[in-house]
């Protein structure tokens, strides 16, 4: 019997998140190779927005019920665990996201399954699920095996093309009533929109991005000069923002902004997967990091291993001179 692959969809305000299509693309590959059925499970308060989507699944199962208005891991687990027990899939795909990471541990413990996080590739070989995942801040890849039937893989956003998560035509859609019985221990209250400061980093053509290599807040000044010279703005990775050196609205990455500027100048950034998610589609990426093994060089178009504190003033001077001369 073919056990099947299940994708646990993520959505917000009636729209499927990009990661859902990427998971479907991954699952489609697995399903086609193993001749498995592919089921996309969607938990929602209202099934209506999800009833006619051209998703690359064999079946869409919408579990509709109260308590699923916003994401509560408690509500999701109460609906998802019995549903997955009923489906008995060979492999469950979750997003390596705020939602998937909340579900993975409890889901594994309650289903007797094991998860691999940070997956960039998932394949089935016979009775084994083979996962390739990013480890140690993206510096290394791990290959690991899970037994079919108790395998959960958390897919890293950006690992599969979204387009392949769709197909021509709408698959069979079933809507089942689902209720998270009893009072919830985690209750979703509201969503707070980000406070934007003077600059919306999603809208400027050039971004000068600061990573841990910046070393101190005082060094932001020379980055700011450079950004002004280029008609752009300074943004940063999480560690820089966590230090309080720049406001949250300047953070680029998984839980920050997703940007696609014409030029992304990555300075002192190692290139953790969470950061790369937010900037990899920039037109031109130039990375400067003294560590030649930094993963940022795998997504950058151009790279250099000089010290950013030497480079930035020299670059600003040369740009000013070039501007003055034209």
């Amino acid at each position: 019997m073919n056990p099947g692959v299940v994708v646990v969809a993520e959505h917000e305000r009636g729209e499927l998140a990009d990661i859902t299509l990427e998971m479907l693309a991954c699952a489609r590959e697995v399903a086609d190779a193993a001749h498995w059925p592919l089921t996309c499970v969607i938990l929602a308060a209202h099934a209506q927005p999800f009833q006619a989507l051209p998703l690359a699944a064999d079946r869409v199962l919408v579990l509709e019920g109260p308590g699923l208005e916003g994401f509560s891991p408690d509500a999701y687990l109460r609906v998802l665990v019995p549903a997955l027990k009923g489906l008995g899939p060979g492999l469950v795909l979750l997003g390596n996201t705020g939602v998937g990471m909340d579900l993975a541990g409890p889901l594994c413990a309650l289903l007797g399954a094991t998860a691999v996080a940070g997956c960039t590739r998932v394949q089935v070989q016979g009775s084994t699920v083979v996962c390739t995942s990013r480890l140690y801040g993206g510096k290394l890849l791990a290959q690991s095996e899970l037994p079919v039937g108790s395998a959960v893989a958390l897919l890293l956003p950006g690992s599969y093309p979204r387009k392949r998560g769709m197909q021509n035509g709408v698959p069979k859609v079933e809507v089942h009533a689902a209720a998270a019985s009893g009072p919830l221990r985690v209750r979703f209250r509201e969503l707070i929109e980000p406070k934007l400061d003077d600059v919306d980093v999603r809208k400027v053509p050039v971004l000068v991005a600061a990573g841990r290599g910046l070393q101190s807040k005082e060094n932001l000044g020379i980055l700011d000069d450079l950004a002004r010279t280029l008609g752009g703005a300074v943004c940063a990775t999480r560690p820089v923002v966590d230090q309080g050196w720049l406001p949250r609205s300047r953070q680029v990455g998984r839980s920050g902004m997703t940007v696609k500027p014409r030029l992304y100048l990555a300075l002192g950034i190692s290139g953790a997967p969470e950061h790369i998610e937010g900037m990899k589609e920039s037109d031109l990426i130039v990375a400067v990091n003294t560590d030649p093994d930094a993963p940022i060089f795998d997504v950058a178009h151009y790279g250099a291993t000089v010290d950013l504190l030497d480079l930035v003033p020299a670059l600003t001077d040369r740009l000013r001179a070039a501007k003055g001369g034209t």
Binding site: E12, S72, D74, G98, M101, D102, L103, A104, G105, A109, L110, T114, V116, L135, G137, K139, L140, L141, A142, Q143, S144, E145, V152, R185, V186, F188, R189, L191, I192, P205, L230, P239, D242, G244, S255, G256, M257, R262, L265, L284, A287, V288, D293, F297, D298, V299, A300, H301, Y302, G303, A304, V306, L311, A314, L315, D317, L319, A322, K323, T326
Partner: protein, 255 residues
């Protein structure tokens, strides 16, 4: 209300990571250990809760001898109690067995909140927080930037990061396990002198529960990411690199 925080020692990814001869682990002699970054933030959040609610904080330091330094630092920062959880490199990143091992002491300890980093640098599996929550029959939510507890200590109001810089506000019944993404303020600094003093006077109890073997996942191979799409490297000194970047910027019409 008592607060527990788990401080895992993990390889510092800023250092060079050397793959051992077995091809699936790190070469132990080349590993530099640090406290997992998310766990540092969990400690900071715990200390903020202590300041606001006079909540005693117990730090569980997981790792080899270096975990004792992490505990001394935690005590110097304000943790009230230190528990050393001896762990060997072969158990590295195995959160399923760590959760099973910590479950008993965390249950009997009567903690209202257990804080962990939402993610660990050496994490291959589902992550400690969620696995631990099931063991403790407590709810779990992670990716948090703020944890506030009501006066009665019955529930927490937390903020969870969503994509696009948005924050979800959630209410969680206590006791609970929470995965901290980043604390409300940067982890506090404590002077080397204070740490040295704390190290000298540290009274860490050692967890008596031995390591457990539970079903989990192990890497069969560690690999360096394929450098198929590697950046074209600009050679020379800073000034030369600057000149090349200016040429690129001009070529793209960005000046």
């Amino acid at each position: 209300m008592k607060v527990a925080v788990i401080l895992r020692q993990v390889p510092d990814v800023v250092e060079e990571l050397v793959i051992a001869d077995d091809g699936r682990t790190l070469s132990e002699e080349d590993v530099m250990y640090i406290t997992n970054e998310g766990d540092e933030h969990a400690l900071e959040e715990a200390l903020l809760l202590k300041a606001r609610h006079a909540a005693p904080v117990t730090a569980f330091g997981v790792g080899g001898e270096e975990a004792k330094d992490a505990l001394a630092t935690a005590v110097a920062k304000g943790a009230d109690e230190a528990v050393f959880v001896r762990s060997t490199p072969d158990a590295r990143g195995d959160n399923a067995s760590l959760a099973a091992r910590l479950a008993g002491p965390l249950k009997t300890g009567g903690y209202g909140l257990v804080l962990t980093g939402v993610h660990a640098a050496d994490q291959l599996d589902a992550g400690l927080g969620g696995l631990l929550a099931v063991q403790l029959a407590a709810p779990y939510v992670g990716g948090l930037t703020t944890v506030h507890v009501d006066v009665a200590g019955a529930k927490a109001v937390v903020q969870k990061e969503y994509a696009g810089g948005r924050l979800g506000v959630m209410e969680v019944d206590l006791p609970a396990v929470l995965g901290v993404q980043s604390a409300e303020q940067p982890p506090r600094y404590v002077s080397v002198g204070k740490v040295t003093q704390a190290r000298r006077t540290l009274q860490a109890s050692e967890l008596s529960v031995p390591s457990m073997t539970v079903p989990g996942v192990r890497a069969r191979a560690l690999l360096r990411p394929e450098s198929g799409a590697h950046a074209k490297m600009l050679e020379g000194d800073a000034d030369h690199v600057a000149a090349e970047i200016v040429a690129l910027v001009k070529e793209r019409g960005l000046l």
